[in-house]
């Protein structure tokens, strides 16, 4: 057993290094370290994510038991390539979003509270500032908005999904053009709030982005699908009406997403 006194200097020295790292990290002086480690770790990260998600994705257990680790890895890689190929074909056939503005990115991690039960609030993708990805860029799949880039390092970015409780954006319905605010509630739930009582909301109507871009084209373009109205809550005594919003894309099935560039 180690004596407490011998652990104190060890703890203090490691803690000092951690605080130093933190200080440099908040000052954005460690981007080279992120970049270097991302170059080294991305292949491992992409492979392990593919293996873990392919296992989690519900392939039959009997098949998985028969496969050895090497075969499983190869299969996961092949599936990932097929999905990526299909995603690219789908995406570039989509007409709303101009294809020349899209940067395909592989999902490196999508952590959830309880895997298979809860839905991720953030994604880590394998494209960063070296690929001209900027904070605030929209991340889409086909015509659907998945989220916004909230943090960028040289070779990776964090995407905060529209279902995250820190997400909030202006939107409108497609049929009735009722303008409101889409707020993420976490765990894959969204609400459509602050819609005037005079406006009409219908269950099943699609909600799309209202658009919020600056002169340089940075920001959120209009017309990206956010979700479908599931149930409408309207009371004459309230100032506004609201509704529950359903996502139209299953994030757990995706391996490739697209970052929209101005």
């Amino acid at each position: 057993m180690q004596k407490r006194s011998s652990l104190v200097p060890i703890f203090l020295s490691y803690a000092f290094i951690c605080i130093l790292f933190l200080f440099l990290s908040f000052g954005s002086r460690l981007s080279f370290l992120y970049g270097l480690s991302e170059i080294l770790l991305h292949p491992l990260q992409a492979s392990s994510y593919a293996v873990l998600t392919s296992y989690h994705g519900g392939e039959s257990q009997d098949t998985l038991k028969k496969e050895n680790t090497q075969l499983r890895l190869q299969l996961a890689k092949l599936n990932e390539m097929k999905k990526e190929d299909a995603a690219l074909r789908d995406q570039y056939q989509t007409t709303t979003v101009p294809a020349n503005k899209l940067v395909p990115a592989a999902i490196l991690s999508a952590r959830t509270f309880i895997p298979g039960v809860s839905i991720a609030d953030t994604l880590v993708i394998d494209k960063g500032s070296s690929d001209q990805i900027k904070k605030g860029a929209a991340v889409v799949y086909k015509d659907m908005l998945l989220g916004l880039v909230t943090s960028v390092t040289p070779h990776a970015s964090v995407v905060t999904l529209v279902t995250s409780n820190s997400s909030s954006l202006t939107a409108a319905t497609t049929k009735t053009n009722a303008v409101g605010i889409v707020k993420g509630q976490g765990r894959g739930i969204m609400t459509y709030e602050l819609v005037l009582l005079a406006d009409s909301l219908e269950s099943g109507d699609m909600v799309v982005t209202k658009g919020n871009t600056d002169d340089a084209g940075h920001g959120l373009p209009p017309g990206l699908v956010i979700g479908k109205l599931a149930s409408v809550h309207k009371r004459a005594s309230n100032l506004f009406q609201n509704a529950e919003l359903q996502t139209v894309v299953d994030i757990t099935k995706l391996t490739t997403v697209f970052v929209l560039q101005p």
Partner: protein, 128 residues
Amino acid sequence: MIASVIFILLCIMSFLFAVHVTTLPFFLGFVLVLFITYRSRAIFLLAFVVGLLFDIMTLHPIGLTSLMLLIVLFLASLYQRKFELRTYPFVFFASFFGTYAISFCCIANRSFSSKVSFRRSMPSVVIG
């Protein structure tokens, strides 16, 4: 030899799960149980390295997770004279408060809501 292989496999698995699959800090329970079992200073080095790798791979500020893991281990070491560490209640409490502390720092980093902190601390007790 077998114990070492199991230890390495568990370490890698818990780390990869925490990085890719779940927001639960799997490795916290793992590192804590290791410290309680072996009480070696090498566990501090392991916590430091695992925390750094975790922060880099999840794009958190580098050093945050390492610092939290080190603080949890250090607090556990402070109690070793007053309490018997190799007991379920101690592991339960240490896992709970360790996870809550890490969640609290993540709130400061805007990664989680405060409601989630308590919920994620409960399964950590079971993992621990």
